[in-house]
Subunit: 124 residues, 2 copies
DNA sequence: CTTGCCTTTGACGTTAACGTCAACTTTTAC
DNA sequence: GTAAAAGTTGACGTTAACGTCAAAGGCAAG
């Protein structure tokens, strides 16, 4: 596949794909004319990259994880790193849930206020 | 309170507080000598700011939300914006949960591999 | 009144993940 | 065979939320 195909299949820009290659996140062969050629599984790989980015991992971390993600093989240290990242994700999700709850109670108060006509507050 | 007190009480840098003021997120009065003075509730406000930042809101959005967060009063449009942000948060949390699950299954495979001695794979 | 810590403004530095030209070369479609 | 579409490298631009000096003034203690 050429770069445009992969880009639209994975929902990213071609610029992003070149950037990923520069960061060693993906690889490509070249056509005789020098154009990048990708294997189809690159699309899945790019989707993984997007997921991990969205989860707050840096490209440096992702480049360490990707081989393990595909092979399921990891040394003890890598397993520890994976656990650490998973736990960080858990913490972050807890924080988000708490924030969401607080936001929701603000919303509830605001909605309540909005359903009352203007002078109804002082025990009318 | 002076800036250093607020900073350590809220767990942020003094630089951050000056930045927040510049972004209209917080306000301060001044001493005769020109130093910033804050009311104690600024600490809570800063904690809110941190929460919302961590939830992915921009300072521009936060500056819109904060009055409503404190008063519980919001117009219909503001309520819609609050709902939209809450829903975005929900989506994000769903994505994170999915990513976490995938990461976890990778981890399970890696842990399984790590508990097996080196030649045990091929049906020994 | 001086020592030493805190604060002020101003301004440049940082980092990540791309966006966006520019000037060309390859491929593709007709 | 010739446009038009797609791709290439190179390099500067962008954005957010601060970090990090620098030079100078404020403030409580002894």
């Amino acid at each position: 596949m050429r770069i445009g195909e992969v880009a639209s299949a994975a929902g990213v820009s071609t610029r992003a794909l070149r950037y990923y290659e520069q960061q060693q996140l993906i690889a490509s062969s070249r056509s005789t004319g020098g154009q990048r050629l990708y294997t189809p599984d690159t699309v899945e790989r790019v989707r993984w990259i997007q997921l991990l980015y969205a989860a707050g991992l840096s490209s440096r971390t992702i480049v360490e994880f990707l081989p393990c993600v595909h092979t399921g093989i990891a040394g003890l240290e890598m397993i520890a790193r994976l656990r650490a990242e998973r736990d960080r994700l858990d913490d972050h999700m807890r924080d988000l849930a708490a924030t969401r709850a607080r936001l929701d109670s603000v919303l509830a108060a605001a909605e309540f206020g909005a359903t009352r006509p203007a002078g109804e507050a002082a025990g009318v």
